[in-house]
């Protein structure tokens, strides 16, 4: 099963929220949908769920127009909501039936999930009597009812303690094993990295990346090395690198980036072993010289900053163009 979004555009009044959003998700692989606040994640998800109609573009499931109400879709919205004053089991059965399940099937499924999430004793209680964390678990159960083919989770971990987060992780892992199509939106990069084979990064309504997480990381780490010294701090190391540039006939040793403890070097034009010998000869005590493996946070920050620079440059050019025209 493959879900594809092709050139989705959506505006609210004069605000253009989604710009030609395109990405694809395969079943059996969880896709992490990342983006800053207000980047367009929830609007994209609401378009997938047919809550918002896109202004243009198409959403396909296996090359056919996707109708979420004709497929079993488990959906956990970012803004949680269920009936506070209705008995828990009764409303879970109701939501199960609205998704197309039978009453008996929905009841069986709801009872099984309540047991799995250790909430069976509250089955006939009103939702409002539960703690916030347990209410969150009931909302998660609602998304997993009746064995959905597709699961869309918008910020699913917010409000869960580590123990309950672990219960939830197991449920997601099971869904992935059962070849379900899982879309997972979160700000918590650790969770995305833990589950997701693929990522889609959206910023200001534009898709920046869509693909395998491993490939994205590999692309970012290509010919990049992490350097950390025992006897020199980062500033001293940077000075030393400038001297080497002259020795390498001004071939560029790119300082790709740095973090709190190390420098990230781009050695695409230099043989890494030669470089290592030279800095050892310069009495640099090596603490760490390794292939750079970016974290998801690194990936996120890298692409978002790049996009910011590009959009700022475009804005600047637009303003200049306008003032010249005037």
């Amino acid at each position: 099963m493959k879900l594809t979004l092709n050139n989705i555009n959506k505006s609210f009044g004069k605000v253009h929220v989604l710009h030609d959003v395109s990405f694809a998700v395969d079943s059996g692989r969880a896709m992490g949908f990342l983006g800053r606040n207000g980047s367009g994640k929830t609007t994209s998800i609401r378009c997938i769920m047919d809550i918002f109609k896109p202004d243009s573009g198409e959403i396909l499931l296996d090359d056919q127009p996707f109708k979420p109400r004709e497929l079993k879709v488990g959906y956990l919205p970012e803004e949680r909501g269920m009936y506070a004053k209705e008995p828990i089991l009764e409303q879970l059965i109701y939501f199960g039936q609205l998704k197309g399940g039978g009453k008996a099937e929905s009841k069986k499924s709801a009872e099984a999930w309540l047991e799995r999430f250790e909430l069976s004793e509250y089955a006939n209680k009103k939702l409002e009597v539960l703690s916030k964390g347990n209410q969150q678990k009931i909302q998660i159960i609602q998304a997993f009812l009746n064995d959905p083919e597709m699961i869309i989770l918008d910020e699913p971990f917010s409000g869960l303690d580590p123990v309950n987060a672990e219960l939830f992780k197991d449920a997601i892992r099971d869904a992935i094993k059962k070849d379900k199509l899982v879309i997972f939106s979160s700000h918590q990069m650790g969770y995305v990295e833990e589950f997701c084979d693929d990522i889609t990064l959206i910023d200001k309504g534009e898709i920046l990346i869509n693909g395998s997480l491993a490939d994205v990381k590999a692309e970012m780490s290509h010919d990049k090395y992490r350097l950390e010294s025992e006897n020199l701090n980062r500033e001293q190391l940077k000075q030393l690198l400038k001297l080497f540039e002259a020795e390498y006939n001004n071939e560029q040793i790119l300082l790709a980036s740095e973090d709190k403890i190390s420098l990230i070097l781009d050695l695409s034009n230099i043989v890494p072993n030669d470089f290592l010998q030279k800095i050892i000869a310069a009495n640099v005590q090596i603490k760490n010289f390794s292939i750079y493996l970016p974290t998801l946070t690194d990936v996120f920050l890298h692409y978002v900053k790049e996009h910011d620079l590009a959009t700022n440059e475009m804005d600047k050019q637009d303003k200049e163009g306008n003032s010249n025209a005037q």
């Binding site: 609401r46 769920m49 047919d50 809550i51 918002f52 979420p68 109400r69 879709v73 959906y75 919205p77 803004e79 949680r80 909501g81 269920m82 009936y83 506070a84 209705e86 409303q91 109701y94 939501f95 039936q97 609205l98 998704k99 609602q142």
Partner: protein, 422 residues
Amino acid sequence: MRNSGLVFSFELKSILRKKSYLVTTIILCLIVVAAVVIPTVLAKKEKQPEDVLIIDGNVPSSVLEDFPDEDINDTIANGGYFMATDELKDFPLIKNIKQEYTDEDSLKTALSNDEISYGVVFNSANDFVFMVNGESNPVASSLFEQQLLNFNRMNYFEANQINPGLIDEIYGVQVNATNVDISQKGIGNFALAMIYTFLLYMLIIMYGTTVSTSVAREKDNRTMELLIANTKADYLIIGKTFAAGLAGILQVLALIVTLLISLKFTGQDIVGLIGGFLELNMTTIVTMIIFSLTGYISYLFIYAALGALVSKVEDVNYAVTPVMLIFIAAYLITMLGMENPHNTLLKVASYFPLTSVLAMPVRTILLNISPVEILISTAIMLLSIVVFSILAIRIYRLGSLNYGNRMKFGKTLKMIIRGEGS
């Protein structure tokens, strides 16, 4: 449509389970029981109206003879009198008065000392003064006046040798005059029109607000997103509206059943009571059923749509105010129109869909309306419920997706005209 049924059943159960619904129903039923039982019990306890027959006009003198002494004693016993004339020495009522006084002053003194409850000074056969000390006694006063009148008449008849029975016979002849307006129906129909208007008014106001609050609450607590992700907005609004509608009808049925049981319990002849005063035919009954159901559902659709325009429960009142004002106007036009059901305003109101829900059935209950008029109004009503429901579904669909500020009704209508929400 399966999901409409699911929504309907879930919403109906939810309303029927609410404490507020149960408490309101019980209180209303108790009011009905009290309204029927209490007057019946009080009427049984009180003395029968025959007690005051003696003070009614045109009473033959024979009545006084038949009137038990103990009843006269109860009425006039504890009094006193001063006879300032010889004309009344044979006046039979004075033997029932407790005390005779020799002059007016001693009578007044006894009265002011509360030795007697009233005093009478007989000045002549047709002139007396009735005195009390703070506590009035209109029954005794009227009794003296009436009996003195009878005493004088009897004396006159005797003096002129006239047979009193003949006079009674002459004055006993009665003419029965009945005014009939063939366009109007009986007094029972007026009561039915009042009950119909009041019940429907209560139903629409109570359950309209229930529906709009329920929709706004789902937006407020974000359940709406989950619902519209799983089913169409059309099914949600249809299920919700009909559930609230049925809950209201069940409440009215509970009141009617309670009324019938109370009437039976108090021994009142229900069939006679209803049949005796009402002039109903099949056209009137069918008109009442069609207009009450379609009008009720139309209003509930409108209330549901208006509830979807707001994102917070506390904003519901602002959103429903315009339609509530229209409905209050319909209620006032109908209630005031009952005084003169031929008036033009009521007639016009019986064709306009938002007012015909009350006006047309009331005109049909009170007047003999031409079937053509009823058919035209029914056609407009049926057409309007289609238009209102489609409009309400589109407003609901647009409103349910808007989580921002309150949507303006006019702006929403423009969006619908542009084809949004379809």
